[in-house]
């Protein structure tokens, strides 16, 4: 038990150390802009094919589920605000982050893990390049900036999909009322939550993926293990951070 605690604390300390170095490198030369733009493309644009349909289906499912519940209380007109609040506050950021974690935390961990077991990381250090500066910082910056953008896209697509279910299909409310009521329901607090969460999730996904990738040992089996651990850890951290932010914003 004591050994497990010691290992966990050491791992967490290593993680914090890696995070510190990755953030410090944002302000230290050399900057690998090519790698930053490449990662923004891979993580941002590359994730659109999974984020767009998931966002659309989330909005449609909320509208469908709410239509039944709201009609019980004769509150069909509230479908717009409920969809907007649910998507912007929780489902948009969390679902997008989980999808991106599944796709990119695993991708980052397996890529860096493979580089580690084939001595490419050591080669990089031997050639005078800081692997954290070259590999971690660009992924950190790219994920932290792209995930909020992806979340906004997912929220918007979900909002439109919910509209298609609620208005043309189920005739719950008028088109004008759907848009105006849902927009009015959002306050700055909701928008702040909706953007702060994916920003923090982006940091978590990139750092967790890089951390497990860079500590990979044990050949190809180790790469597989690192990939699984990265996705599991990132997902748990996403829920934990959601809880913390909700706790903070609910009290505001």
């Amino acid at each position: 038990m004591l050994r497990f605690l010691k290992t966990s604390l050491t791992s967490f300390q290593d993680f914090l150390f890696l995070a510190g170095r990755a953030f410090a490198n944002l302000f230290r030369s050399p900057h690998y802009y090519d790698d930053v733009f490449l990662q923004m493309d891979l993580i941002g644009v590359g994730s659109l094919p999974i984020v767009v349909p998931t966002g659309a289906l989330s909005g449609a499912i909320i509208a469908l589920q709410m239509s039944r519940a709201l009609s019980t209380y004769g509150a069909n007109s509230e479908v717009g605000p409920i969809v907007a609040l649910t998507l912007v506050r929780e489902l948009g950021p969390v679902l997008t982050a989980l999808l991106v974690a599944g796709r990119n935390a695993s991708g980052i961990a397996s890529e860096l893990g493979s580089m580690k077991v084939t001595e490419q990381i050591d080669a990089m250090r031997a050639l005078g390049t800081d692997p954290v500066q070259k590999l971690v910082t660009p992924r950190l910056f790219a994920t932290a900036t792209m995930l909020p953008c992806l979340t906004v896209v997912a929220d918007a697509i979900g909002w439109v999909a919910a509209y298609l279910i609620a208005v043309p299909l189920l005739h719950l409310v008028s088109s004008g009322y759907y848009w105006s009521s849902s927009w009015r329901a959002l306050v700055p607090n909701d928008l702040a939550q909706g953007l702060i969460k994916p920003f923090l999730f982006g940091i978590i996904i990139a750092l967790v993926g890089c951390y497990y990738g860079l500590r990979t040992t044990g050949g190809t089996q180790g790469v597989g293990r690192a990939t699984t651990q990265a996705v599991v850890s990132a997902s748990i951290w996403i829920f934990f951070v959601t809880f913390l932010i909700d706790k903070i914003f609910v009290n505001l």
Partner: protein, 277 residues
């Protein structure tokens, strides 16, 4: 920058322990410009760890390591990067970046130095020319646009050599350059290493399992005029520029010339004389 008379690598009483095993035990030696040290020893005797310790890739527990006159032990990881960029390293499996083409791999150290302002303002076309020239040196110019996965193991090793020497570093570390290669390819690789040493007066640390590799480095020199290897005659002082180190459980148990190695009566040391892989 160290004075020319100072050793390029200077180990004094270096020790490193991994849990209950000595990786390096009181290791001391010097390596000067143009000299070659051949490091022999059983698997797990600390040969690769010694190479990594030279450039601070592993942190030692005791002793002093000076590289180009600078104390490796006292430098932070970040401060070590400029020092490392003046050292060429060939990893056992080449350590090539598999997402980059062969040309990009060889250009990488040059671009890295440009990033560090060592070569500020150098044109990209000049960097490409230099990379192509180095690939020509290892007779692989036609692989410039290929990826490491598209070339053979021996070619990958040669690309690794090209990447290690493209910046013309004063020191090159070779980790098992001939491991797993057929004898003909292994001899080609060693001839390239010898050529690099003699053309540029490079200091070389070579970890190997093959006695023949050390024998070649000790007995031959490269003649740039006729572009061939020439056997050194008996008593040629150049023979003494190649020394052999034999390691056992992290300790140096032999240090000397090829003749001294060949005449050693130590049972462990004798295992590495004329030892076929």
């Amino acid at each position: 920058m160290a004075e020319i008379s100072n050793p390029i690598v200077d180990f004094k009483g270096v020790s490193l322990r991994f849990e209950d095993t000595w990786a390096l035990q009181n290791v001391s030696f010097e390596l000067n410009a143009g000299d070659t040290h051949i490091i022999l020893g059983a698997a797990g005797s600390g040969k690769t760890t010694l190479l990594k310790a030279v450039i601070g890739l592993v942190k030692i527990d005791a002793g002093d390591i000076k590289l180009f006159g600078e104390d490796v032990r006292s430098l932070s990881e970040h401060d070590l990067y400029p020092l490392r960029s003046r050292t060429g390293v060939l990893f056992q499996e080449g350590g090539l970046f598999d997402s980059l083409s062969v040309g990009d791999n060889v250009e990488y150290p040059l671009l890295n130095q440009q990033n560090r302002d060592v070569r500020s303002g150098e044109a990209l076309s000049s960097i490409e020319d230099q990379a192509r020239e180095t690939l020509r040196f290892v007779e692989l110019e036609n692989t410039f646009d290929k990826f490491p996965s598209e070339v053979s193991g021996g070619m990958r090793r040669r690309v690794g050599i090209a990447r290690a020497i493209v910046t013309e570093p004063p020191l090159v570390l070779y980790d098992s350059p001939t491991a797993g290669l057929d004898p003909i390819t292994a001899n080609t690789i060693m001839a390239l290493i010898l050529k690099e040493r003699d053309v540029r007066n490079t200091a070389s640390l070579i970890v190997t399992h093959r006695y023949q590799d050390g024998e070649l480095m000790s007995e031959f020199r490269y003649d740039p005029e006729h572009q061939e290897l020439i056997r050194l005659h008996e008593g040629d002082g150049a023979r003494h520029r190649t020394r052999f180190i034999v390691m056992k459980q992290g300790e140096i148990v032999f240090f000397g010339t090829r003749e001294e190695l060949a005449s050693s009566s130590d049972e462990y040391v004798k295992r590495f004389v004329k030892h076929e892989e």
